[in-house]
Symmetry: C3
Subunit: 472 residues, 3 copies
């Protein structure tokens, strides 16, 4: 790839050239922060670097061993050019079009916002200099990684471009810098790559908002029912219950609702397909969006369930609980009462805990199988077995756990303070609906039709059919 180099650039590092004649010379357009960082790293990895600058003599400090020359001179000396300038300054490159013919231009640029321009920076660059081979890449790395090499979320360099040889050349350089290259196809993927560094958990936004909303709503509901009610009606200050008792009511409720919301869209989609009699019609947009964030819903549900588990396990070391238990024991002695052991109660509470633990175990299994490296080694049959079969089992266990918690409270009016139902009852609505609907879908006749639809079969609408035959 190294070519005859003009006298100006050869003079840059005569020592190096003598010692290791195969050292490749790369060119960087732009002497800003990005250009300097990248240049430093390239030098460290054994390349020679020349900068192209509009003001080669006043462009500030450059990495030692490099030199800034005019764009034209820099272009002549290298085949691979990193374009580290802002998009708004691209137009002057048009004047260099003849010299850039056949060169590989790596567009490293990013924008400050999404959709700022009608076309991706790299596509714009390609349009300006049709004779060059533009490769989009390196833009997903942080400036730190560009300067210091790969670290945690900066191991992969995403590339795209229309010419395989140009991508190959950039791949070799990226590999030498220590990165792993991921080829994202032709230059039409450039927009995607340029949006990548700007994103901050886009697919988590909806589920997170939902979680925050649900948490706030249930906290408010419980503060009124538990704290305010006790204060107003019984004149007791139990506000300290907010920190643990209330939190430990809100978290499982939100977790159960989120888990069921994770399975509801699948059920709705199935009924929609049954109703339409085909799988080839698009789902409404809201359903599509909902289905795309099921994984995030599930993982948030798992996070809330884990908090619930932790809050439950610290119950016996709480001051309030210890005080209360000791109080009960003392009153038993002072008033000489003996509470008889209630086997039903033992069965109920032990089942309640046991089902909860098993549900939580399955929950964690679902979470582990969502890890990218684990789901990658699963066949989709295995993945859907875990996420669907075991997922519904998890939902069933967790719902059952909540029913066991409620037990006979449903029927006792004393639990309906100020005519409002206990919060956990509200949390049971959606999961119960999802489980019933799923049961309906498992009925042999329904299941058979659905399977056929999903294999491509379509319900022939007699009216539509006759029309069709008329047309053809």
């Amino acid at each position: 790839m190294s070519k005859e180099v003009n006298s100006e650039s050869v003079s840059l590092c005569p020592l190096n050239t003598a010692a290791a004649p195969e050292q490749e010379l790369l060119c960087i357009f732009g002497t800003g922060d990005l250009g300097r960082s990248l240049g430093q790293r390239l030098l460290q990895c054994g390349y020679r670097v020349v900068y192209g600058s509009r003001r080669p003599h006043s462009c500030g400090p450059l990495p030692p061993g490099t030199q800034a020359v005019s764009h034209g001179a820099a272009t002549q000396s290298a085949n691979l050019i990193f374009v580290c300038i802002h998009r708004q300054n691209y137009d002057f490159l048009q004047t260099l079009a003849p010299q850039l013919n056949g060169k590989v231009l790596v567009d490293v640029s990013n924008n400050l916002k999404k959709n700022l321009y009608p076309e991706a920076n790299a596509e714009y660059l390609q349009r300006l200099i049709p004779g060059a081979h533009v490769v989009k890449g390196f833009n997903t790395l942080s400036a730190w990684a560009l300067q210091n090499g790969p670290s945690d979320s900066n191991r992969q360099v995403y590339l795209c471009g229309n010419m395989a040889e140009a991508k190959q050349a950039v791949t070799e350089t990226a590999t030498k810098l220590g990165f792993t290259v991921v080829d994202r196809g032709s230059l039409s993927a450039a927009r995607e790559l340029e949006d990548f560094p700007l994103q901050l958990f886009p697919e988590w936004r909806l589920p997170l908002r939902l979680a925050v909303g649900l948490t706030a709503a249930f906290f408010f509901y419980l503060i009124i029912r538990d704290i305010v009610y006790a204060y107003v009606v019984q004149g007791k200050d139990v506000s300290f219950r907010i920190m643990v008792s209330l939190a430990n009511k809100v978290f499982p409720i939100v977790s159960l609702i989120m888990l069921s919301l994770c399975y509801l869209p699948g059920v709705i989609a199935a009924f929609l397909q049954l109703y339409r009699g085909t799988k080839y019609k698009r789902f409404p947009d809201w359903l599509d969006r909902w289905m795309l964030c099921r994984k995030q819903l599930g993982l948030l549900a798992l996070a809330f369930a884990s908090l619930h588990a932790m809050y439950t396990l610290i119950i016996p070391i709480r001051y309030y609980v210890r005080h209360r238990i000791s109080e009960i024991t003392i009153s038993q002695i002072r008033e000489n009462i003996t509470y008889k052991f209630d086997t039903t109660m033992a069965w109920r509470t032990d089942s309640y805990y046991s089902v909860g633990i098993l549900g939580f175990g399955l929950y964690i299994l679902l979470g582990i199988s969502s890890l990218p490296s684990v789901s990658n080694v699963l066949s989709w049959r295995e993945f859907s077995f875990i996420q669907s079969k075991l997922g519904y089992l998890t939902l069933f266990f967790c719902t059952f756990h909540t029913y066991l918690y409620g037990w006979s409270m449903f029927l006792k009016p004393s639990y309906y303070k100020w005519y409002t139902p206990p919060a956990y009852m509200l949390s049971l609505v959606v999961p119960s609906v999802v489980l019933v609907l799923k049961l309906l879908l498992l009925l042999p006749c329904v299941d058979r039709t659905l399977t056929r639809i999903r294999q491509g079969w379509e319900k022939t609408d007699p009216e539509n059919d006759s029309k069709k035959s008329l047309l053809t």
Copy 2:
């Protein structure tokens, strides 16, 4: 790659061709569900698609913008052809052999069962049309992923084929569809790829069966010893203990046995190598199979250990336990007894818990290092350090934890109800054997011989040796 296209297919999308002349035309054989799903996705990603069909005029609804023509006509217009038809219909393709010469055929087919045919579908296709370049691929994706692009377990497209250029062409298309390509080598790997979507945790089957079997056996044993015995001999109904107390006896037992079974085959193999004096003789089949499922054994053991941890931690919030503790306190007061604090007891129980927690912590470390993405970044020296050294330490901690639990129970006859030993004693047999055998292997003289054998040294059998020298 785009070629001159015959008039029939050019007329398909005159608008597109004008706007973006480089849009590639791909061909799909077969208008079934698979073909239609794939076609839809290809259209979305900017390809033009033509279908090849035996009945082009009555093949049902196709994605808008595509058209079905005869196989021959479709073949002429494209270089890359997706074969989305069932294997039993492949033979008619033989008649197209001359037209398919030099084309890339992507075999997307799957079978309903393993070993249905003597050769892989793709190899069969290659045999039918020797002049074409058959590439196996896309078959590991679900129909959903083929239609909607990558999702969790559908990010990777596995390819295999004999011709690098053909694979490269398919790679580019797959990349454009958003998938990551994994090259699995030559067409001889096709069988493996075709079996992949059919598998449902094959390597988990044996360990799972073992876990279920052990769990059932110990549950039965404990029900008889704990529940039935109490009912028959003492006339007490303690059946509620099934849900938590019994479960929390079964889980640690199964976990410990499974963990030791995970290290037993390694020890057996070492002794076998010592006995044989060589590492070049194959192990018996059962040992090979056993060694291959050690990871699964270990992970299941970890799952059981986690359940044990959860079940242990909820002990103090159980109704039964609270009742029992309060009962004891009350009886202490009523009968005016004071239980003196027993320092030995405090030492023993605290050590018991502490060793258990440390063992569990190591257990989880072993589990984390088994995650594919973690074990991939470890060198094998690091991996074997964790899995072997830390693994034996884990086994030692867990076994010691169980011995501390037993303590003096071994000697008290009252624990041998109906002459059966407590279940935890049974669980100690295998781990104790494994640990003793491992200790033997660590003896300097044994260890030295074993290391030499594993480095390729072979015990020279004098008899054998003399025979050899006669022969050569």
Copy 3:
């Protein structure tokens, strides 16, 4: 790739050649353990293998179906040669240089120690035979994996070499053996590949030593303050507290200190950049090293925090705790005292637990996002959001948790046994400092300057500036 093969090697497997004429013949130099293992695997995967040996007739048992011939004869028959001999024997290969011209040599060798030789084995080999295409590879696999194919930490084959075609040929073979190939660039990366199998958690050493040191120091401190003090001053033997109570004091202390040490270098670096007014000066070496092990510090801190959580959760099932609680209840009755419920106490302890749990939850989130497969799918903006923003939040929660634990103990002289402060107070020093410094950095004026510096701006030193203008 298959070539005309000389008569000697053709005769090796006449049967195979007839059946499948395309079976490639590979050559292995060296009949030691490595060569035999590799040969066995190559045979299994459908290659033919010929060994090159200095003593072809007395080189010990070889895999059945292979044969050893002289190096020269072996060279002629194959294009791809695996060099499975020790580096110290490389020099004799020089005599084969003419025959090895144009062949692909795969250097599989490893050294026993790092930096044993001035240049990498593969580079030495390339220097000996300049006409051959040396590819370094397969050396990161264990002998077991070479013989039996991929397993956990042996899925990836790292390759490097100067010639793309040679690497491609080796890639194909590696893929056929079932491995995934990772290209590490040119032969200059060989040293790195040769060091890889020798490493044993190099980047964990410093953090591990620190963790062990801190643990030992605090254990010692606590034994004196808690155990020895109680024995000497109060005459009580509370040595049993070592197993759980003391451990549960040491673990959170070490965890908090390690977590804060994980954020301290970043804060120091920021102040250094502010002071220097540039980001282009190198940090001192100790700071660089410290920053590189932040991830390991954080993960160890998480491990200690998890142990703390487990030790806390088993508190209520401890014999000592149960005994103590029952003792208190009994004394309350016997002496007819009633402890009144203290709402402030309830608020404090519940907040203490709640903040601790939330902090631990965030801790685990940080841990999960450190998994390679998770951090790979995050953009660096997302990753730094989690690791920096959420990281400081975690540190704040954990520090606050510790302050809540301390509460009013700071002021009570009785807690300063032998004039030493309680251990948890010592643990608060570093985190408090880090949090205060971070707060300073968040002040708008400081933050603005720092941001500018990090975007490449440099403080212009007036003196320096004038000098510069004189020079240019």
